[in-house]
Amino acid sequence: MSSHPVNGLDDVVHQRVRLGILTVAHEARQVEFGYLRTTLELTGGNLSQHLATLENAGLITITKGYEGKRPRTWVSLTKEGRRALRQEVAHLKRLIDQVEQRGTPD
């Protein structure tokens, strides 16, 4: 296996919106569906699809409940999700470093 940082990028995490979801969930500890929808400027359906992908990969847990009469969906990172985010950021940094050191296109 090549040590090039691009090989370390996880397709599930690397996708722009999903990286955004993981980042917000990491900073907030727990984030509500509506906050993610507004912050990431997504439709409810689109966000649901990305959440399902992350949940199936075991990176987030989704908790549904009520606050008063309002249904609420909370998203939080799993241990695996925190690790995947940390790795993704590390790979991105290495990738940028490598491109900057090389200076010219391959």
Partner: protein, 240 residues
């Protein structure tokens, strides 16, 4: 991988950092703890004024004191009861406020370490005050590697110190250099007994007031500053 890939990686990373900054900004609400502590500091003025000297303890051979002179200390009866209740009530109120805010905004909060640190500090200050009320603190004491004089020790175990240290913890939790600066300024004023030349005759029953007025003003003005900055930021984000 090409420079195109490098640019994409940079965009991904900057998106991630911008989102993290935005969440942190929206989690912050330092104006509220500052407001609560400013309020309890000002409320302490009439409470302290209504109290009387109690628990008089004297020592004739006080270390570092003038030879052959009896040194006596007493505490204010009302302030002695007021501060433990006020500090604990303040932290409960702050925890409740942050939980409400978290639910309203839809993002979790990192306030738990702050509330726990605040409560621990409050309990420590209360315990130290009770301990100090039974003895005359004079001469030198070793406190966590520092050598402090008896009168200075009274300032270290004062409620203002618990408020200042807890604000430092909040600054670390919020990763807010501005709040850390406020906490340091407040601690310097409170522990250093800075009065900007405003002093009332020690025989007056209002002699304690200048310090509380100054400390309360620092807290309330900082609270107003943080609230205004947050409002301005929200408007700027809204119109962006």
């Amino acid at each position: 991988m090409t420079t195109e890939g490098g640019r994409t990686a940079r965009e991904q990373l900057s998106l991630s950092r911008e989102l993290a900054r935005r969440v942190r900004r929206e989690q912050r609400a330092a104006w509220f703890p500052l407001l609560v502590f400013g309020a309890i500091t000002y409320l302490a003025i009439p409470v302290t004024r209504s109290g009387h000297a109690a628990g008089l303890v004297c020592r004739g051979d006080a270390v570092g004191g003038p030879p052959g002179v009896r040194v006596c200390v007493a505490h204010n009866s009302a302030a002695f009861v007021y501060w433990p209740i006020a500090l604990i009530a303040a932290y409960v109120l702050i925890a409740f406020f942050y939980l409400r805010l978290s639910r309203a905004r839809g993002i979790g909060t990192r306030v738990r370490p702050y509330v726990i640190a605040g409560l621990v500090l409050a309990v420590a200050v209360i315990a130290a005050s009770i301990w100090a009320s039974h003895r005359v603190l004079s001469g030198g004491y070793d406190l966590l590697g520092w050598h402090v004089q008896g009168p200075e020790l009274y300032r270290v175990i004062a409620p203002a110190c618990a408020i200042g240290l807890a604000l430092l913890v909040l600054a670390a939790v919020d990763r807010s250099p501005a709040l850390a600066a406020v906490a340091v300024v407040y601690l310097v004023i409170a522990v250093g007994r800075v009065d900007f030349g405003w002093a009332i005759n020690q025989t007056s029953r209002w002699a304690f007031a200048p310090h509380l007025v100054i400390e309360g003003a620092v807290l309330l003005l900082s609270s107003a500053g943080f609230a205004a900055a947050q409002q301005w930021h929200r408007r700027a984000t809204h119109y962006a």
